[in-house]
């Protein structure tokens, strides 16, 4: 039986939504500083206007739906998250739309969701003439989305630990690093900001060495770091990573992608001196194994001459694309037209890599390495059960920070999420095929959107049908939040009409 939500439920949700919108308004002020540094005037008004709108909307919601006690249930947490991401998309699209570099508001929404969900598919017109202010904002959206927009604001605004935990889980993070969520969120921020400073500095130095001017090197370094660490894949230039013509720059982005792919819990272990964890952790083993398998598939698909002759070329092009796909980043040192010319086998390798994704509690999308590892362990356990005598008591363990006994509940939750992802991948592909695109291209783009990767075979472009733009927006949103928050929203809407 469905229970119709009462007014108090709606008040709690809208109150928190108001606080998040105010937080968004604050974040919209940051690009204004970039605009001032680069002496851009017109874009400042786009952000002043959008920021002000956020404040008005947020403050009105806080004022009207003010609640005395912060009682956040699981349902509230999930609904706050799912709605916040939609609202953030609509509000984040405003300054982008005002830039005049988008065909319409739908394209701006697509770009905003692509940024927030750390996907990296883009519909920007004439990106090379976009202002520094707007370009920085695109990357800032990725940085905020990668950490979890709701968590970003609420971890500093909420007093009750329980409320934040329910929101934290809603944003597809199912692991707490430190005893409470607020300190976990703050640890995530410390890690991210430390890497941001270091990464920007290194990229800027390499940029200067490769011929960029100092302001451009810093700006590019900052943007590329935000897009790489948050496994987003936007770039300040239409050529993406190709723009830099630098193998060294590409190598550094691989390191940044690795950092973004690793579970924050593992970062904590490494920061605390537990370096052995890196070789024992099921997630790392699973990720490394699938990277090697999919890389072999890609190499088999693209090799045309004896391997030894072109090893560096295959590494530069094949491995870069593969790792970018597997980590869910979407950086590319090839044109989409070049990837499209790869054999079906190589493209299939990329699709599988994109679909699998990186670590849980990281900034990547997709099914995730931990789930793949657990499912694999469960299959091994079942095979052993058949082969060993029936009286044998079989205990399978996996190592993830500590030794954990594999239980049915672990396998069940991993299987559910895996199934949901597979369903989402094929549903998106089906819609694109229905619109006349070839199956492999449609599957590639659908997986890229759902697993928040951002590589493209050319379907994502200004002229694509609006229905496909909406499909990809939904896929990016659902894929980033890992289903549960979205299912709760659907259930909530149904219960409004059918509940008792």
């Amino acid at each position: 039986m469905l229970i119709r939500p009462n007014l108090k439920d709606i008040k709690v949700i809208l109150y928190y939504l108001g606080r998040i919108i105010v937080g968004l308004g604050v974040s919209f002020i940051l690009p204004i500083f970039v605009g001032i540094i680069f002496k851009e005037t017109a874009p400042l008004y786009d952000f002043l206007l959008s920021s002000g709108l956020c404040f008005i909307l947020g403050l009105i919601l806080i004022w009207i739906f003010r609640i005395k006690e912060e009682t956040v249930t699981w349902m509230h947490g999930m609904l706050i998250v799912s709605l916040s991401w939609l609202v953030a998309m609509f509000l984040g699209a405003i300054p982008l739309f005002l830039s005049g570099h988008y065909q319409g508001y739908l394209d701006s929404c697509f770009e905003a969701m692509s940024g927030l969900a750390t996907t990296g598919l883009t519909l920007t017109k004439d990106l090379d003439h976009l202002s520094f202010t707007h370009n920085f904002f695109r990357h800032l959206l990725m940085f905020m989305g990668g950490q979890g927009i709701v968590l970003v604001f609420l971890s500093f605004l909420i007093k009750t630990q329980m409320g934040v935990f329910k929101i934290y889980v809603g944003e597809a993070r199912d692991e707490i690093i430190l005893p409470n969520v607020v300190s976990t969120a703050r640890f995530i921020w410390i890690v991210s900001i430390t890497y941001l400073i270091l990464g920007t500095l290194i990229l800027a130095l390499v940029g200067i060495k490769e011929g960029l001017s100092i302001p451009q090197a810093i700006f590019n370094g900052l943007c590329v770091f935000m897009a790489g660490f948050d496994t987003g894949g936007f770039s300040p230039h239409s050529q993406n990573i190709l723009y830099y013509h630098s193998f060294f720059y590409e190598l550094i982005t691989i390191v940044i992608m690795v950092l973004g792919t690793i579970n924050f819990k593992l970062h904590y272990s490494l920061w605390s001196g537990n370096r052995k964890e890196i070789v024992k952790n099921i997630e790392i083993i699973s990720f490394f194994t699938t990277v090697m398998i999919t890389f072999s598939i890609v190499i088999l698909g693209i090799v045309q001459k004896p391997f030894s002759q072109n090893f560096l070329l295959y590494f530069r092009q094949g491995f870069y694309q593969l790792f970018s796909a597997h980590s869910g980043t979407g950086f590319s040192n090839l044109y989409s037209l070049q990837i499209k010319r790869w054999s079906n086998l190589a493209i299939l390798g990329l699709i599988v890599a994109m679909g699998l994704g990186g670590g849980v509690c990281s900034t990547t999308g997709g099914i995730k390495a931990l789930r793949i590892g657990i499912i694999f362990k469960a299959i091994v356990q079942d095979i052993k059960r058949i082969l060993l005598p029936e009286s044998t008591v079989l205990v399978e363990k996996f190592h993830h920070i500590k030794e954990i006994i594999l239980e049915d509940k672990h396998v069940r939750s991993c299987m559910i999420i895996t199934f949901c992802y597979l369903f989402l991948y094929f549903l998106g592909a089906l819609i694109a095929v229905g619109l006349g695109y070839p199956f492999l291209d449609a599957l590639f783009e659908s997986v890229s959107a759902s697993a928040n990767v951002g590589l493209s075979l050319g379907i994502t472009q200004l002229g694509m049908p609006s229905i496909l733009k909406v499909t990809y927006i939904l896929q990016m949103w659902i894929g980033r939040l890992e289903f549960i928050a979205i299912f709760t929203l659907i259930g909530f809407l149904v219960s409004i009409f059918k509940g008792k």
């Binding site: 005037t41 002043l48 008005i56 003439h129 050529q239 190709l242 013509h245 560096l312 530069r316 037209l337």
Partner: protein, 161 residues
């Protein structure tokens, strides 16, 4: 007969020194990528706007050229001696140039990049400063909205009292 010998000599002379056919027509970058096997190591021409920055390194500079649809890296060796006046960005419309050069599908000099090595660059149209147009409506609306924000904050404070 001597006349024919001359023609035959010229024919073989050209053939001997230039075995590869020349694709001197102005191609789009999309066409180049699509026909990369056919055009590999051949002389081609492209035109477009210089964007971003000149990335100067040992022996030359990289210029990224955008033809309105795609952008491609053009390696300009020092001996070509080209210095653009405007490079495309938010504030500038970059110089439009015509590049004559060799297309490389997998450039040996640049670790397998797909690029063009310029032999000659011709300025087609000088770039210009893009005037920033500030929409007065946006200024007015921004002020109005921020006045609204202040009013709401005051009202919230008053209602608490």
């Amino acid at each position: 007969m001597l006349k024919y010998k001359g023609v035959i000599f010229i024919f073989f002379f050209i053939l001997g020194f230039n075995l590869k056919p020349v694709f001197s027509q102005d191609l789009t970058i999309e066409e180049i990528i699509k026909r990369q096997e056919e055009l590999d190591q051949k002389e081609i021409s492209i035109s477009g706007e210089i964007i971003g920055e000149a990335l100067c390194r040992k022996g030359g500079c990289w210029f990224n050229i955008n033809d309105g649809n795609f952008a491609i890296g053009v390696w300009v060796p020092e001996e070509v001696r080209f210095k653009p006046k405007y490079i495309g960005s938010y504030k500038y419309r970059g110089d439009k140039i015509l590049v004559d050069g060799i297309f490389n599908r997998r450039c040996k000099q640049h670790l397998g990049e797909l690029d063009i090595h310029a032999k000659k660059i011709t300025l087609l149209k000088e770039g210009e400063v893009i005037e920033e147009r500030i929409d007065k409506g946006k200024i007015f609306l921004s002020i109005l909205i921020w006045v609204g924000v202040c009013l709401i904050l005051i009202l919230m404070r008053l209602s608490r009292k």
